[in-house]
Amino acid sequence: MPRAVTVLRLAALALLVGFLVTPQSFAPLFAPLTQYGAPPIYDQGNLLTLALAQLATVCLAAVASSIVAVALGILVTRPSGAQFLPLSRTLVNIGQTFPPVAVLAVAVPLVGFGEKPTLIALFAYGLLPIFENTLVGLRTCPPAVLEAASGMGMSARQRLLSVELPLAMPLILEGIRLSLVINVGTATIGSTVAAKGLGEVIIAGLLSSNTAFILQGGLLTGLMAILLYDGLATLERRLLRPVTLD
């Protein structure tokens, strides 16, 4: 079973890299989807550059939402910050329920076209999973462990850094992973406000009724999301010690 999974992973990776580096070799596959001699492979930009640009935007947004969401999660689980829990929850929930397209519409008049409005939309959209997971992670630390940490003479800060955060880390990382994957897909709408990304390919396909463009834009984005999720999960398993909470 693990071998089959590895083979599948490598195949997905090979497909993604192959498509990004030599897109023309896939032309015969997509040719049947085009009409009236339209190009089967996107030709108005380099697919590799677009994919990397999208990944960079998503990662930048994820770093920002991780910092804010984890910090908020820590704040509201301290006795002094507990009163901010309802407020933080509301803010983070709004970030998730407010459609990213609407965020773009609001942000463009304020910060102009390009990467900035996309970053803002992705940042807001990615907060919720990280915040909620941080909250659950910090709240489910076993009370006996926390009591022992205080009883041993750890200051509140030492307890947070050396006990609470390490114990909550698997959940926090899962939140970040989830947020990243959601945003790889969501980032394609950034192309409506001129952010560089694979959304450009999809939009070009929609405008020229070129199914091949739509399909390859979607396929590449999907592959990126799956591989990213999988890769991060593997990395986590390698880096973190197995922890069993009883």
Partner: protein
């Protein structure tokens, strides 16, 4: 020496601990017993200030515990809780090294101390030093919990229901270990339990609490023979108080001069155990024989029974 002076804890209108005063001698074990809600845990937790007293004070060797920040105070007081609270993401060695690290000991000194404690608690360093807590049995986890509490050589050890989660056989072993370790390191132990047998077995002194008040604080034998209160008498057990009294005296202490041809018993056996042995064998007297095979005296049924009267 721990001096508790008129200590109270109130939460709103509820008084959890009500004006408790007591003195715990150095190098002794004090057991605090009471039903749940008697305030015994709160009293214990006020000693290391995990709970801040509403009024009154605690002195350890004459120093007020409020003289330094609570977290610094706690680094010099061992603390063991029910369920151990071992750090699940840290190895056994790292768990034990917690307080020495907080105190900034040198790496070599920490390593030596961890090795020493693993040996004292019969945990083979090769197999356990780098194990994670969940890989250990309940009894081993409990031992690591005590080792961690003792790592920085505290003079005071506080234990809150330390053996509550263990099965009876492992619990008896853990209690014996605690007595050995207390003799070996000579620290002052304050232990909270709801189990009267445990309190009698371990306690040099026993404090009985109910409704936040300290009802009686004395040696176990005095608690049995002169209970200050009907509640104390009920707690110590009216039905088997004579047997409890017998279990406080060892054969070595009670042995009379002379010898007999009855069954041999070790000097460490309690009179309760000797009596049981005599009943079982249908004998009238027992020989007290030590580990080297020397006869230390004899015990007759009559002499044993006399010890069971107040």
């Amino acid at each position: 020496m721990i001096t508790v002076e008129n200590l109270s804890k109130r939460y709103g209108n509820t008084t959890v601990v009500d004006g408790v005063s007591l003195t715990v001698e150095r190098n002794s074990i004090t057991a605090i017993v009471g039903t749940s809600g008697s305030g015994k845990s709160t009293l214990l937790r006020m000693i290391n200030r995990l709970v801040e007293p509403s009024s009154g004070r605690v002195l350890i060797d004459g120093r007020d515990t409020r003289d330094e920040p609570a977290y610094l105070l706690r680094r010099h007081i061992g603390y063991v809780i029910q369920g151990n609270g071992l750090f699940p993401h840290r190895t056994v060695a790292e768990n034990i090294a917690t307080v020495p690290r907080l105190l900034g000991w040198e790496a070599r000194r920490i390593e030596a101390r961890v090795a020493e404690l693993l040996e004292v608690f019969a945990l083979d360093p090769a197999s356990y030093a780098h194990a994670l807590p969940h890989q250990l049995s309940g009894g081993q986890q409990q031992r690591v919990g005590v080792a961690r509490a003792l790592a920085a050589e505290p003079m005071v050890l506080l234990m809150d229901e330390p053996f509550g989660a263990l099965d009876p056989i492992i619990r008896a072993k853990a209690q014996d270990d605690l007595l050995d370790i207390q003799r070996r390191f000579g620290m002052t132990v304050v232990l909270v339990t709801h189990d009267m047998d445990e309190a009698f077995r371990l306690g040099t002194q026993v404090a009985v609490m109910s409704g936040g008040r300290l009802l009686q604080y004395d040696r176990p034998a005095v608690l049995l023979t002169q209970p200050a209160d009907p509640f104390v008498a009920r707690m110590t057990g009216l039905a088997d108080r004579a047997m409890r009294l017998l279990s406080l005296v060892t054969a070595g202490e009670a042995a009379l001069p002379g010898t007999c041809d009855g069954p041999a018993v070790p000097p460490t056996a309690t009179l309760r155990e000797v009596l049981s042995e005599l009943l079982w064998r249908g004998a009238d007297s027992a020989r007290v024989v030590d580990a080297e095979g020397r006869v230390r005296g004899q015990l007759t049924v009559g002499a044993i029974l006399a010890r069971g009267r107040p």
